[in-house]
């Protein structure tokens, strides 16, 4: 049954990608890309990667689409007719694809339990992590504890991307305060539904944040979901009112605070006589130490991701509002 679902979903994914190639209306392209992301999230669930599916659904289908639409609002929504011949790209793609297909024939069969990937470090994570780290969710154990240093690096990359976007675009606060009232102020249905939904989204984000140790979820997903709540607020009530709730300057501080919180857990464990990010030293009982460490660093990740996603949205949205005047 799993194979059958896999078959159908992947076929739908391939069709979506094919349609994206030929569409000239970029608005439709972005919408199809959102569908593409949702389909791949379904595939991830089918392949047992629940945490990944969670992230893909909130990030790929949510934030990516919003940012792309924000760009389209500034750059125009149709692609111009391409006069160049598509023969050469087609040739390149066909040859590369054929070589890759030939390469896949050497891959171990899909789903076999004795594939090389499952034989090295993975059994240890599966067998030992519930005892060593004490969390039922192995993905969180590996993400936050065994590969904590790696995750710190990724959080810094996300932070660096925010710096990049802010350096390129900047958030023009003074100007947006003067533009005409933005948002959908006349749409009562939207306003009331948003008011009902936003607290639930934030509550859900907090649940995902703090339940990530036991079920699917964690800082990355929670940060994005919380940012989505504020993006919805900014979309419906206008950017200036969103600035009054969480200002761009405050967000920049928040983004660095998350990274620093994460890194300071590492420094604190060194101070306690362990190595960098060695949570066993955080408390007398190593398991309790692991739990404290993971909760704090996941919080750091969540705060940074939330602040970064919202700052990036602010940067794009304030460009659009400036363009409208």
């Amino acid at each position: 049954m799993t194979e059958l679902i896999d078959l159908v979903l992947l076929a739908m994914l391939a069709l979506t990608a094919l349609k994206i190639i030929f569409l000239k209306d970029l608005f439709a392209v972005v919408m199809l890309f959102g569908i593409y992301s949702f389909l791949s999230a379904l595939i991830f669930i089918n392949l047992d990667a629940v945490d990944v599916a969670f992230t893909e659904a909130s990030v790929g289908a949510g934030i990516s689409s919003v940012l792309m639409l924000g760009t389209l609002a500034l750059t125009g929504r149709t692609e111009k007719e391409n006069k160049r011949s598509s023969l050469l790209p087609l040739l390149v793609v066909t040859v590369t694809g054929a070589a890759l297909i030939y390469g896949t024939l050497d891959m171990p069969p899909f789903g076999a339990a004795n594939n090389p990937v499952h034989e090295h470090v993975a059994p240890r994570y599966i067998e030992e992590s519930p005892k060593e780290v004490g969390l039922p969710n192995m993905v969180t154990s590996v993400l936050a504890s065994y590969r904590g240093f790696d995750t710190l690096g990724e959080t810094v990359v996300v932070f660096a991307a925010a710096i990049g976007v802010l350096a390129l675009l900047g958030v023009r606060r003074e100007k947006t305060d003067n533009v005409r009232q933005s948002g959908f102020t006349d749409h009562y249905v939207l306003r009331i539904i948003a008011k009902l939904v936003i607290p639930l989204i934030i509550l859900f984000a907090l649940y995902v944040q703090f339940h990530g140790d036991f079920g699917p979820g964690g800082g990355f997903q929670a940060g994005v979901i919380a940012a989505a709540a504020f993006i919805l607020y900014a979309l419906v009530y206008g950017l200036p009112s969103a600035f009054r709730v969480v200002g761009p300057k405050f967000l920049q501080g928040l983004a660095s605070f998350g990274v620093l919180l994460y890194a300071s857990v590492g420094l604190y464990s060194m101070f306690k006589g362990g190595q960098f990010l060695d949570y066993n030293k955080l408390a007398v009982d190593p398991l309790a130490g692991q739990h404290y460490g993971i909760i704090i660093i996941e919080l750091g990740v969540g705060i940074t991701v939330f602040a970064v996603m919202l700052s990036i949205y602010y940067a794009f949205a304030s460009q659009t509002e400036r363009g409208n005047t």
């Binding site: 896999d6 992947l10 994914l13 990608a17 094919l18 994206i20 970029l26 972005v30 890309f33 791949s40 595939i43 991830f44 392949l47 047992d48 990667a49 992230t55 893909e56 990030v59 790929g60 990516s64 940012l67 792309m68 760009t71 750059t75 692609e79 111009k80 160049r84 598509s86 790209p89 087609l90 390149v92 694809g97 890759l100 896949t104 891959m107 069969p109 899909f110 789903g111 076999a112 339990a113 990937v117 470090v121 599966i126 192995m138 993905v139 154990s141 590996v142 993400l143 790696d150 995750t151 990724e154 996300v158 990049g164 390129l168 675009l169 699917p216 990355f220 994005v224 970064v308 996603m309």
Partner: protein, 118 residues
Amino acid sequence: MNFIFDYYNYWVVVFLMMAGFYIVISANNLVKKIVGLNIFQTSVFILYISMGKVSGGTAPILVEGVTQYSNPLPHVLILTAIVVGVATTAVGLSLIVRIKRAYGTVEENEFENTDDAI
């Protein structure tokens, strides 16, 4: 039939990867190129997750009575890659916004002839 099921995921991954690659090299519009890059990226995600799947296994969350779990390591790598991916996509899109402001167009063939406007 078994042969097809053994490799089907990888073939679709190759197809998606090539679809993304084709959009990147043939599209004129920069926003569409970014969509192409994202399709390419997602195909790599699916490749990793497909390799992590174990037939008959379940999601890597400890449940009593279950012995066969899928591999958690690819999940960790891809989870963070998705978030990093959207962050880098945002940088790419903001570059496009700046290009639009400097050249007045985001169609590749239209600004390759203009002089340096920045």
